[in-house]
Structure formats: C-alpha cells, structure tokens
C-alpha cells in the first residue's frame, strides 16, 4: 500500500512496484490510508511523511495503536530527508526510511527485505501457536494417563494393603509374600506415573529454573511490604530482620519470590490477631557438612503444625486441616511447590514448631563458590 500526496512521483513508484510483481493500492491521505488498511490488510505500508490532514507520522502511530503487534511494517518516505524529521518520526515506529528521490533498486531491496521479514515473523507465530497447541495436547494426554493409571493402581495397591491387615484374617507366609510383591509392583508403577507427571510439570506448572544473580533482601522487603497491608487488617505486625552482608546468590528470581511470598502469606494466614511475625535473613558460614548458605526464615505465633501433620506438610497429596484464622482459602499445594523450587536450587526447606509456641518455616540456599 502506498500513500502519497504528489502525483508525478507516486505514479512512477507505483509502476516500479507493480513491475516488480507487487499488488499496489495507492491512497492520497492519512484518513483514507487508515480506512484502506482495514479493507486490504496489506503486508507493507509506504507512508509519505508530509501529507495534508493527518500526516504520515500520525497515520503510522494510529495504525500501530489500532493493529498492535499484527500491524504491517511501515516505511516512511520523504522528499529530501533531514535529520530533524528523522528524530520526530522515529518514535512513531516505522521499520525504515526511504529518502526521495529513490534509487529504484535500493528501494526495492528495502521493500523486499521487510516483506520477507514480515513473512518469516508470521510463519514463526503460526509455528509457535501450533507448538503450543501440540504441547497442550500432550499435557491433556498425560493428565488422562495419570488419571487412568493412578485410579486403578491406587485401588489395587490399597486393597492389597488391606489383605495383610489383621482385621481381614491372617495369611500364610507365602501368601503374605505374594501380597507384598503386588504392593511393591504397584508402588513402583505409581512412582513411574509420578515421575512422568513431575517431568511434564502437569501438577505443579512449569518448573525450569532461570538462574541469575540476585539477593534475597529485595524480595523480602517487597513481600513484607505487601503482606503487611493484609496483616494489618488482622492486627498482625511483620518485622524484617536482616544481617549484613547481603550475599548475592544464583537463583531463579521469580520462583524464589514465589516461595518467599508463600511463606510470608502463610504466616499471615495462620497468625492470631495481634501477634507478630518475624522474617529473618541470615548468612550461615561453611561447615564440614555444607557450603556457606543463606537462611530465610519466617517465625509466627500461630497454632503451629500438629506433630501428626508435619510429615505431610511439603507433600502434594493432601491439604492440611488446620484452618486459616481469617477464613482465607488454602489449597495446600503451595508448600509442595515451594519444596520443589528450593530442592531444584540445591537448598532445603523445613518447618519447626517453637517450644514457646508458633512455628518457623525456613529455607536455605547455598552460596556457591562462583558467587
């Protein structure tokens, strides 16, 4: 699509493009360019900067606003290009400038390059969309697999378990051995199903780390700030204590932030009104058993975790029965995902009830020699 105000040059240029095999639609104003664009959906737009009415720069801006990412590449044309115009037009988002009068072949090469880039970009978008669809299909298949396999396997494994239950009656030693074999085989199959699901991250969402140097202090301050607003509604205070120095670690910033947010918001959820939550970041020196580490901990004055529930705290099997103090919703999946994130970083996550009441949730991250 070519838009221009001057007849003589435009006619020649149109002809040049037509001869080169392009379909050319010419219009003579910014307004008609906007209209014609929607009708023709061109692959490339050539805009004269100096137009009566809406000029080329404004037309470009409107086209890009209206059509966003999908907007065709726009090339500005101007008779006797000057640097001052260049400055004004650049922010409007053209892909190229052509100064008139053109060197025909050079202009054609520019146009051809941008059309090719456009074609490749569209092709790539299509491929990405197809891949996404294929990947979603794979996830659905895996979900079906998990459902169809876990269901009967869980029943077989559980029922076999009951065969050895004294309440059912006793088995002779050989029968007991056979039942144990059934249970073991079921367990290893269930483990395979779980590994398959872990690998595809169907249950936990994508879990691949993107490591970059960062410090915990930045998130902690932000997380405390955000949580303090919610905590204040329940009359709960949050105190952040940090020891210097503030070591820089290799971590997946988004993921660790998720863990920090989760631990702090959990503490707020389970804290009684009027209590205080202590968030602490400290450096642990190297010991014979471990490299130097950073420890992040959240101490609350809540009910703590009942001893019977401790072992399943970080597992994704079931939800804890302890109720949040403000009627908040809790899925129980959060801590299982936190554990996976910290494990992948080579760290350790744990919880500990305090003798004086309340609970400390903490994780450590190694400070590796490269830091």
């Amino acid at each position: 699509m070519v838009e221009g105000g001057r007849d003589s040059d435009e006619g020649a240029f149109d002809e040049l493009l037509t001869t080169a095999g392009y379909n050319v639609y010419s219009v003579t104003s910014g307004e008609s360019a906007l209209e014609e664009y929607s009708v023709r959906q061109p692959d490339l737009v050539l805009l004269d900067v100096d137009l009566p009415g809406i000029d080329g720069i404004e037309t470009c801006r409107r086209l890009r606003t209206r059509h966003g990412e999908a907007c065709a590449p726009i090339i500005f044309m101007k008779n006797g290009w000057e640097l001052a115009d260049d400055d004004a037009s650049f922010p409007a988002g053209p892909v190229d400038f052509l100064a008139e009068p053109f060197v025909s072949r050079q202009a054609l090469l520019h146009i051809r390059t941008h059309l090719e880039t456009r074609r490749l970009a569209i092709h790539q978008q299509k491929l990405v969309a197809e891949l996404r669809q294929a990947s979603a299909g794979k996830d659905r298949l895996l979900s079906m697999c998990a459902h169809d396999l876990r269901n009967p396997l869980s029943a077989v494994s559980g029922l076999a378990d009951f065969l050895t239950d004294p309440s059912i009656g006793s088995l002779n030693p050989e029968q007991t051995e056979l039942v144990d074999s059934i249970r073991e085989a079921c367990q290893s199959m269930l483990k395979l199903v779980n590994q398959l699901l872990d690998f595809s991250s169907v249950e936990t969402g994508e879990l691949r780390l993107e490591l970059a140097p960062a410090s915990l202090r930045d998130f902690a301050e932000r997380a405390v700030f955000l949580a303090a607003v919610i905590a204040a509604r329940k009359g709960t205070r949050i105190v952040l204590q940090q020891a210097s120095p503030d070591p820089v670690l290799m971590m997946d910033v988004m993921r660790i932030r998720e863990v920090v947010d989760n631990l702090i918001s959990n503490a707020v959820k389970y804290s009684p009104p009027g209590s205080c939550i202590h968030v602490m970041i400290e450096s642990l020196p190297a010991s014979p058993e471990s490299v130097p580490q950073v420890r992040f901990s959240v101490r609350d004055q809540g009910p703590g975790v009942p001893a019977a529930e401790r072992h399943r705290l970080f597992r994704e099997f079931s939800r804890l029965s302890t109720c949040p103090t403000g009627g908040e919703k809790s899925t129980g999946l959060g801590l299982a995902i936190c554990r996976k994130i910290i494990d992948l970083h080579g760290g350790h996550i744990s919880s500990e009830n305090q003798p004086e009441g309340g609970c400390v949730f903490s994780f450590t991250l190694p400070i590796s020699p490269c830091n």
Partner: protein, 146 residues
Amino acid sequence: MQLTGHVLIADDEPHVRRYISLILRALGPVVVHQAASGEAALTLFHSLSPPPQLVILDINMPGIDGIETLRRLRAEGVECPIVMLTSLATRQVVEGAIAAGATGYLRKDTPRAEISALLMDVWKAVAPADAPPPVESSEPSLVPPL
C-alpha cells in the same frame, strides 16, 4: 477417637469406593453409603435420615462431576465436611474444589496412613463431643462388614 455415624462416598470406580470404605471402617463403626455418580450421590444424600456427617466425592465422574455435586450440596446449605478425591491434583483442580466449598482433598495414591490421618482430622473438627452410636443402615452396601 473413632469415626462414627454415616458417610457417603461417590466414585465411579467401584474398587476405589471399596478401598476408601475399608479405610473408613478401619477408623470406627461407621456406616458407609456408596454412589457411583454425582446424580446418585445427590439422590442418596437426600434419602438418608439423618443426613451423612461426612461426604467423600470423586472429582472426575461422568455426568455431574464431583465439583458440581459439591456445589449443589453447598447451595442447599449442607454444612458437613466434604472431602474431594482426585487422581490429578493440579492447582486448577484443587483451587476449584476449595473455591466450591470442599473441606479438603485427597489424591488417590496417598498412602493409606495419610488418608486415615486426614479423614480423622476432618472428623475431629466437626465430631460432636459425645456422638450417638450409628443406626444400622438398611441401604445395600457393596462392602461386606469387617
């Protein structure tokens, strides 16, 4: 403490119903009522008097699924604990269940001890101080008494 009273369990997989029933019966003198679908669970729930004190619903069932069954029971004002069974605990599934009013959820491959512990926890939270002994049910049950 023992699990007592009436429990309704709905799962389209009879083996899973049997397994969960065995776990429940090992926890106390409980009467287990079984349904193979969401529709059957709703009908059975309304036919029981007194109503069940605990409901266990499989999420993935043909017809009215577990979440919809849960939603309908809550909409009727049913307040007893309702625990969801799932073979795939995605964040979406779990959040959907909790939002619809589930008391908790159990992944089906959870070790038996853990299933028992969660069911007892749920029960403890609602059990009356001195629960009356359960009335023998005339409902046919797929599970022979232990």
